[in-house]
Amino acid sequence: MFDFSNILSLPVLVFLPLVFGIIILMPFFPNNDILIRRFAKGCIIFHFIYALLFWIFYNNGFISLYAPDWIKTLGISFGFAMDELALVFTLLTTIVFTLAGIASKLHIRHGQRYYYALLLFFETTILGIFNASDIFTFFLFWELELIPAYFLIAYWGEGGNAKKSAMKFILYTFLGSLFMLSGLILLHYFNFLATNTLNGQIGLYNLDKVSPELQVLISVLLLIGFGVKLPIVPIHTWLPDAHTDAATPISMILAGILLKTGAYAIIRFNLQTLPEGFKYIAPVLAVFALINIIYTALVAYAQTDIKRIVAYSSISNMGLILLGICSMNIIGLSGAVFHSVAHGLITAGLFAVCGIVLLRCRERNINKLGGIAAKMPRLFGFATVIILASIGLPSLAGFVGEVISITGALASELNDYTKFTALFALPVLILSSCYMLKFLHKGFFGEEGECKPAADIANHEFVILVSIVVLLFILGCFPASILDIIQNISVTNGAVVW
């Protein structure tokens, strides 16, 4: 029998979109917008199916390692590997990119050739982040992702300040990633000092001999980089601007996946590689997570721009993920991963809804919207389900993630304060329902606003929303589907060992 796992190659998985993107850019490719769009969509869907194969043929301990030498002098390789964690995030990435690719149809009117090429390039960079097995490969993709992200935000943005927001985004993230780079370098160097081997593989770091103070220092440096992406509160201000001004498909990707790279990186590095140092930071970080959760929920309520509300809700939800990670146990970790996936879908859905509203009404001020439910009942139905998922209604995905993350923090063995933060995080359920229902209430309910939507959702939008809603139901009712994948991660002594 033909063994399918033979065709599953990580470099192909990562670079396939890039190749497609280059094909689109090639001079021989016909300069026909419809053709380009269909081709790009086909590529993204094909890639999604390819990623699905990884899931289907995944069995325990399946780590496909591909690591040719890259910078031999430092023992660095251009390595890719996939484990449970990467698999989950890879699937999420391909799903959200598929949705975003479909959503681009009506939102992107000019420069389609470059747009789709950049979109595919963007996918490659993000998959690279999730599947890199070497710290510098990881960092390469981490920074590489800035380039497509910048141009996608700046040149296809919906807001008037798209260029400014994109610049804010790239400067913020770049600075953060440089901090992270110093952390990575110190990690690499001290590992070298401790073990006398030059090693770049994330899984092979052993810093037992390095003093906890140094580990804390490295952890903090890394966290500044990850914290910008995640984002953690005082360094989050790029996010609302970028998410608001980007085109809808890009907002979907930014909120759906880009933020998750931060969560993934914290799990990968702080939790997996530097558990000793992270032990000291986690309780403090839990407080930051709490601030994230409560503070941004309040800020979200104060917003009038629909996309801004969703953007702040993302930060709030990322706080929950961070809280799960900070618990440093398997429950919190599972919660964090699960909520990453759930929130990735939810927020993509929310932005898709915002995009549809923007397209139809040409209005983003919530006070001027209204009465959409009567005009667009189908959109209303989907929007309600997605919003309910985002406020954590049982039977939808958001609930499971929230509950597991908070339970994890409650079960944390670090110290008592972490447990308290878990309890104090719970009121977010109330606050999130406040701002999200405000969105529903003011945007969809009530009498007709100043703008009158012409038609209900189109077929391709229908496909996007249906797939999101179905996935949310499946994840909400059968959370085991993802939790089982993460189960293999075992916990010893508060540290995660792969």
Partner: protein, 480 residues
């Protein structure tokens, strides 16, 4: 002995011969009467120079082994050879970009070639210098050529630029020599090897510290380091792109090479110099990056980029180790290629606009050119998939390797990188046609070589960015 000498001095000899050929051709003008084709003298002199430089490069590659000659006043080792080749490559690229410049002065084109070749000769001599006298003469040789080169294009701005460069250089050379004179007084020698031996055994005095710092200041001017940094903006703004291509690469390579040598021996015995290097480097980087934020002139932006990158390189040298030296050289190589790519693009669009501002950057008929330019700019900013990214990693690695004391400086550097990214992004996005700049200028590119040069430089940038190991390994080998 003589064989060895010739063996080692093949590149110098070839360059000198080429200069002579150029002079002869320029003065006798044997072909101007017989041919109607008016660009013929430009073409022929170009070909001669190219052959000369390629010959010199081949000669450098051909010569084997290390050598010290002329009473230890010139030594040739592998690092000298490597940097000499880099210098020659830069000269070659500049020659390929010179068409716009020479069309304005068809009769005097041989002068240009003589000057370029002189500058290159001075550069490779300075790289091998093991003696302050040789160093001084070689550097002056290079500088004199550069004064003329800057002032070579027609029109007033180039003259002013040349004059400013000259004045600043004269003052900085005075500083350099003042320092050298004290070193002479302290050691009674001008030879690097002897000086090193003396300082290894003696307790260093304040005079020594001050002399080293004066030497550093004098040399730093050529890298546009503070205290003498401000000239770079004005000089770049007034110069022509092919000259800038030379000006922004050759003195940098030479001075970096010289500094590596001096810091490993002559100047390397006091701690003050390291602090001063760090401080001056940081001030320069800070100044250049912040100055660039509001700047709109592409050449001035590239001047800032030049100053900032030189400063980063110098900061690496502040923590002197073999790893740091190779990191600096690697950074230098990466920088040189990206920089030449950027200037090739500028060379392409320069003839059309008197004042090259950001909104005119998109005026090219090929999107590939624009993309290559953007790539070079992003590379200069240190974004990945370019050589600048690897360079940046090594820069930070060598700084962090020397201990956590430098961590605050590293953090400051990170902020500088970020500020720098702002203007590099401005440059890179200048290629995108917006509504304001959408007026199409379908003009013929005057210089048929700038496009291949640009694409080649972009390609090298990407190749080093993706597959750096070979080059890196070589850099590391240089300083072991």
């Amino acid at each position: 002995m003589v064989n060895d000498l010739i063996n080692i001095f093949i590149p110098h000899i070839i360059l000198i011969l080429t200069i002579i050929v150029q002079l002869v051709l320029g003065i006798l003008k044997p072909y101007s009467l017989t041919f109607k084709y008016k660009d013929i003298n430009i073409r022929i002199s170009n070909i001669v120079t190219v052959i000369g430089i390629i010959g010199a490069t081949a000669g450098t590659l051909y010569s084997q082994g290390d050598y010290a000659g002329f009473n230890y006043s010139i030594i040739v080792t592998s690092d000298v050879k490597a940097l000499s080749i880099l210098v020659l490559i830069c000269g070659l690229v500049s020659v390929f970009l010179n068409t716009n410049l020479l069309r304005g002065n068809r009769q005097g084109c041989y002068k240009y070639h003589v000057l370029v070749l002189t500058a290159l000769l001075g550069g490779i001599c300075a790289l091998g210098a093991n003696d302050f006298l040789t160093l001084f003469i070689s550097l002056e040789c290079m500088s004199f050529a550069l004064y003329f080169l800057i002032a070579f294009p027609k029109g007033y701005p180039s003259k002013e630029a040349g004059f400013k460069y000259l004045i600043t250089n004269a003052v900085s050379v005075a500083f350099f020599l003042f320092g050298v004179s004290y070193i002479l007084g302290l050691t009674s020698s001008l030879n690097f090897t002897e000086i090193t031996q003396i300082f290894e055994s003696e307790r260093c005095s304040i005079i020594y510290a001050i002399a080293s710092i004066m030497i550093f200041i004098g040399l730093g001017m050529k890298l546009a380091l503070f205290p003498f940094a401000n000239w770079i903006i004005d000089v770049y703004a007034g110069s022509e792109s092919s000259v800038l291509n030379l000006l922004s690469t050759v003195p940098k390579i030479v001075v970096t090479g010289v500094l590596i040598r001096l810091l490993s021996g002559v100047m390397g015995f006091n701690t003050e110099i390291n602090a001063v290097i760090l401080i001056l480097g940081l001030i320069t980087a800070l100044w250049a990056n912040i100055y660039a934020i509001k700047e709109n002139n592409v050449k001035k932006l590239l001047a800032c980029s030049s100053a900032a990158n030189a400063a980063y390189m110098i900061i690496i040298l502040a923590v002197f180790s073999s790893f740091a030296a190779s990191a600096a050289v690697f950074y230098l190589i990466c920088y040189v290629f990206m920089n030449m790519g950027a200037f090739a693009y500028v060379n392409m669009i320069e003839p059309e606009c008197k004042l090259l501002t950001l909104d005119k950057l998109s005026q090219t008929d090929s999107k590939l050119n624009a993309a290559a330019f953007a790539l070079c700019c992003l590379g200069l900013a240190g974004l990945p998939a370019t050589s600048g990214f690897i360079g940046k990693i090594f820069l930070l690695y060598s700084l962090l390797q020397s201990g956590l004391i430098l961590l605050p400086i590293v953090l400051l550097l990170l902020i500088l990188f970020t500020i720098g990214l702002y203007f590099y992004i401005k440059l890179a996005r200048g290629i995108i046609k917006t509504k304001q700049t959408a007026i199409h200028h379908h003009y013929k590119i005057l210089n048929s070589f700038s496009r291949p040069v640009l694409l080649l430089m972009a390609l090298i940038t990407v190749i080093i960015g993706i597959l750096p190991f070979n080059l890196l390994a070589r850099c590391i080998l240089l300083f072991q």
